[in-house]
Amino acid sequence: MALLPAAEATSIGTPALNIGIFAAFVVITLVIVIRVASGKKTAEQYYTAAGAFNGRQNGIAIAGDYLSAASFLGIAGAIALQGYDGFLYSIGFLVAWLVALLLVAELMRNTGRFTMADVLSYRLKQRPVRIATATSVIAVSFFYLLAQMAGAGGLVSLLLGISGETAQNLVIAVVGGVMIAYVLIGGMKGTTWVQIIKALLLIAGTFVITVWVLGKYGFNPSALFQAAADNSPKAGEKLFEPGLKYGLTTTTKIDFISLSMALVLGTAGLPHVLQRFYTVPTSQQARKSVEWAIWLIGGFYLLTLVVGYGAAALVGPGAIAKAPGKANAAAPLLAYELGGSVLLGIISGIAFATILAVVAGLTITTSATFAHDLYKEVFKRGQSSQDAEVRVARIASVVIGIVAIVGGIFAKDQNIAFLVALAFAVAASANLPTILYSLFWKGFNTRGALFSIYGGLVSAIGLIVFSPVVSGKPVDAATGKSLSMLQNVDFHWFPLDNPGLVSIPLAFFLGWLGSVTSKEHNAQKYAEMEVRSLTGHGVGEAISH
């Protein structure tokens, strides 16, 4: 094996080449962004590209938005080390898209225009519901943003050979700065093109690795799996069976059920995913977007299965665990093993591009919430000019970018998968119940929405604070550190890492309870929303303005 011993190596491959490929990606995409999308924008263009994309383009962009560093690097690593349980984890991310396809995408497209709060406040009291929704949108996006930036920090030390604190922080700041440039110059249109390019590169790169790995085993997956087990002295054939990660104790088992719930119900409540449905003109195109997204995301996770087992077979769990990024290093190490510095450079460039594209999508969505929901609708009570609104959105984008940079610097040692799971759990608790109730339940009203959003938000975050992820996990003998976020304290009383099992049903219950204890019902608005959601009436009208 050509790898240097881990003790000597702070990175693998040729850092200059990795940086060069990433820089090339940045330059090319910036040129494209400037060409397709620079100039003055209306609010609609800034937030949603004014519905200018078709379903196929948007589906590819959704895949680009969704296949974050956590799913690309994290799932490949989980499969390499935990085999079946890593695969099990990936399936929740895919099945979740059926919730979006069947229940959410088209109806959202038909009833909203700029933000998630447009739909939730449609037939309810505008101000309180917009404030509540904006709060949860910002919370979910913040956790997701932190996860991506933490991922950038980890990648830096692995791929660029930069191990010094200051240099790592500088790279995070550069990533954040480039992202702000995309968003300010290109708005949603520019961001979408970055996501499309990134998705195609990511899928193509993963496809090449998959074919390469399979080719080494005569295109026989069973032989590949066997080689992975043979090369994994600890796990061995247990790689094919459930239990390596989630089957240890009853608590880890229940924890996985909780995580599964959060994954499958969280996706359709992620604000940056929902925002993408507004970038197409009609509900038919929204449907087509999700169709494309499901094919691409599903296909990608199938490739990841081969990449993960390939990393176990060709790199080996020992080398992966010793690498600076641990499990996240599995896919890059495999690329290096197969194609040397060049393939590693390409995969690293794609990984950085991934973070850039996802962070840009999150920033657009959150800035739309600030400018449209909080500034225009709440603060200015709907009375503000387009120009002022876009200006606020641009300022918000810069501020969010700076928060992401600072957060990324502080969060760079945090576990990415945990932060992402947190974002999904909060989205599934605080957002999804209210989305489904307002689209499907006649009796839903303002009190129900507020109970559900705040109840879901507070219970999800509160349970996490008192869970073992924040304090009280046993000290790992190898590193001398606890796996919890805080060291040397233990105030946890909630046994699970993921709050979904409690907070999601609770938020549904609170939504019901709030609604039945309040008499508010606006029959006219309900009729308008239901008719528009199912017939698509008025969507084209809104677009042409």
């Binding site: 399936i91 069947l102 459930p242 199938l302 006219q524 239901e530």
Partner: protein, 112 residues
């Protein structure tokens, strides 16, 4: 979104909502997506629960290194893709014409 047009529409929306045709569209849509959602969620959680609580069964070899659990997992991909195809074809064929017709009726009401 023009608010004037909306106010003009309000009665039209209420009127359309109470028509038999609209109720048929609503029933048709819900009649498809609710059971389908129930099915895929049940099938997904069955897979998760079996993996977690019946690892022996899921770890059984079917051939070589291929386990029952792997086939169940790949089955999740198959059903997800299948539901996507079935729903999209059904919606394009059955739902869209009905929705379009009802939407056009509202535009007619606006012109009058």
């Amino acid at each position: 979104m023009s608010n004037d047009a909306r106010t003009q529409h309000e009665d039209a929306y209420l009127a359309l909502q109470s028509t038999e045709e609209f109720q048929a569209l609503r029933k048709k849509f819900r009649g498809f997506v609710f059971p389908m959602t129930g099915f895929f969620l049940a099938w997904y959680f069955l897979y998760v629960l079996l993996s977690i609580f019946a690892p022996g069964f899921m770890g059984q070899r079917v051939a070589g290194t291929i386990t029952v659990g792997l086939l169940f997992g790949l089955g999740q991909f198959v059903t997800t893709f299948a539901i996507t195809i079935i729903y999209a074809r059904w919606a394009n064929r059955e739902l869209d014409p009905m929705a379009e017709q009802l939407g056009a009726r509202l535009d007619g009401a606006k012109e009058n």
